[in-house]
């Protein structure tokens, strides 16, 4: 036992819910969003009930407390991913906004017509559409690292693309469809050799294993709180100080300024330069509580627990007829996407739901990847720190029912 699973599960009120008559919830959809422990909910309640105030600009007790709590959250989150300075941590709404911030402020300034961006075929739309928009606007070129049959990036293709001298490389640390964990550190070393800036989409990595942005030497790193047992409405962009300093502001308004006259303004210092308007204060505090929660269990333990679950699931699923798993590689997180012959994933998910098993069905915001494999949608089961092998048994039982109904 890596940790006391029953004790952990008791922290998550939703896991006790009878979701369908006679069926408790088996939540296998944490890749979409994670459930929240009472500790995270309590941290936000405590803020609202005892300390709520607007920050940075007030001198009364509540404003001082709220400001300290908000900036302490930045410290804690920065330490969690091993950032060097707290001011390298920019608060956003989600991974998507973090990536857009880079595209629309750093990208619009530093990428010129004809410049090349390298992405991969396994990107989430959030790490695809912002670059398409920018490419359209600034006449950039996009090239894609292909994905092999086993769901792994074709690194030889990556190396060839690097020879074309890209200005930016952007890829996800872990795929939300295939579960593949990409060799980020090596990919960044190679990209830096040709002088490219690297953005890593960490939406699926930060929640699931220990991330050290300094060791990775990532230039930008983006992730969301809601996938790491934290609140909705909160995301993070890490950026190296020198790069963020050179990047113009994104959203304009209160707090991101040093001085405003009618016709001009002077931007504030990092990190405030990128945080305009009243920020998500309660959410920052909730995310800090999520970091505390994850660290108390230990990211290594979480990663190992998920590893055990995914192998248990592989084993069990191999006995289910008509089922085909995508991306059976080994260096992976707790995500399994599959197809059932002749049954649409929506129907699979709906039938599983009727026995209390929550999985996702669809393109998982990765249409090009599905396109590549010639399918419109898959069913996805994903695991997190609170999942159990018996929930996987229930998944398998549900899939047998699917086979019964559609046979």
């Amino acid at each position: 036992m890596l940790y006391d699973l029953e004790k952990i599960r008791a922290d998550f009120p939703i896991l006790n819910r009878e979701i369908r008559k006679g069926y408790s919830l088996a939540y296998l959809d944490s890749t979409a969003t994670a459930q929240k422990p009472q500790q995270v909910i309590n941290a936000m309640n405590e803020y609202y009930q005892f300390h709520n105030a607007n920050i940075h600009r007030g001198v009364h007790t509540l404003a001082e407390e709220a400001t300290a709590m908000y900036e302490d959250a930045r410290d804690k989150i920065g330490r969690f991913i091993q950032a060097k300075y707290a001011r390298e941590i920019i608060f956003t709404r989600n991974t998507t906004e973090s990536i857009n911030l880079v595209a629309k402020s750093w990208g619009r300034k530093f990428l010129k017509p004809g410049d090349l961006i390298i992405l991969t075929e396994m990107e989430h739309h959030s790490n695809l559409v912002p670059w398409q928009m920018l490419a359209d606007e600034n006449s950039l070129r996009l090239e894609f690292v292909s994905v092999n049959e086993d769901g792994v990036l074709a690194l030889e293709v990556y190396k060839k693309l690097l020879d074309l001298n890209p200005k930016l490389v952007a890829f996800s640390h872990m795929s939300n469809v295939l579960g593949t964990i990409n060799p980020a550190k090596e990919m960044i070393i190679d990209a830096h050799k040709v002088g490219a800036i690297v953005l890593v989409d960490g939406a699926q990595s930060v929640p699931h294993f220990a991330v050290d942005v300094q060791d990775l030497d990532a230039d930008f790193y983006a992730f969301s709180a809601h996938k790491m047992v934290g609140p909705t409405g909160f995301g993070v962009l890490y950026g190296k100080e020198a790069i963020l300093d050179a990047t113009p502001p994104f959203i304009g308004g209160g707090d991101m300024i040093k001085k405003v006259e009618l016709h001009s303004f002077k931007p504030n210092d990092l990190p405030h330069k990128f945080e305009a308007g009243t920020p998500a204060i309660a959410e920052a505090i909730g995310t800090a509580a999520a970091v505390d929660y994850l660290q108390a269990i230990g990211m290594e333990n979480i990663a190992r627990h998920e590893h055990e679950l995914v192998h248990y699931a592989f084993n069990k699923l191999s006995s289910v007829e008509n089922l085909k798993i995508f991306g059976k590689n080994n260096n992976r997180g707790g995500v399994i996407s599959f197809e059932m012959a002749n049954v649409h994933p929506h129907d699979v998910a709906q039938i599983l739901d009727s026995v209390g098993v929550a999985v996702r069905a669809g393109h998982h915001c990765a249409m090009p990847l599905h396109e590549k494999f010639g399918i419109a949608a898959t069913t996805r089961a994903s695991f997190y720190l609170y999942n159990t092998t018996s929930e996987i048994d229930r998944l398998v039982e549900g899939l047998e029912i699917v086979n019964d109904i559609f046979s």
């Binding site: 008559k21 649409h344 929506h346 129907d347 039938i351 009727s354 069905a361 393109h363 419109a376």
Partner: protein, 132 residues
């Protein structure tokens, strides 16, 4: 388990009665559900009096979207184009005989959306569904 997958739905999904394409259709519309990539195309043949004499759907999707397309076309064949306007969300749900949440509702209504958007112009159904 509940009766979600009523026999009718699975049956219509496996053995649709109005699936196919019409070579000499007067109208042909298509659209997709952005949430899942499901795609439906509807071909219609109308006569001089604007009565729908034949209709077929093609594309891919889940049992709900396929069955509801199949059932929808069954009730429009023989009707004047004008009458399609009166087909509502409720009509479709009655045909299917089940209750649906907002996400699956989109599956069930995709064919109706395609049909109405084609006949009356894009957006019309959206108005009807989402107006406050």
């Amino acid at each position: 388990m509940d009766d979600f997958y009523r026999e009718l739905i699975v049956d219509r999904y496996k053995n649709p009665q109005n699936k196919g394409e019409l070579e000499n259709s007067n109208f042909s519309y298509e659209d997709e559900n952005p949430l899942c990539g499901d795609h439906i195309r509807i071909d219609l043949i109308t006569n001089d009096q604007n009565i729908i004499t034949d209709a077929k759907f093609s594309g891919h999707g889940c049992a709900i979207s396929q069955a509801s397309a199949d059932l929808l076309l069954e009730i429009v064949i023989g009707k004047p184009l004008e009458e399609v306007k009166s087909i509502s969300k409720e009509t479709i749900l009655e045909l299917l005989g089940i209750e649906l949440g907002p996400v699956r509702l989109k599956c069930a209504l995709l064919s109706l959306k395609v049909l109405k958007a084609g006949i009356y112009g894009v957006g019309d159904l959206d108005h009807e569904l989402k107006e406050i």
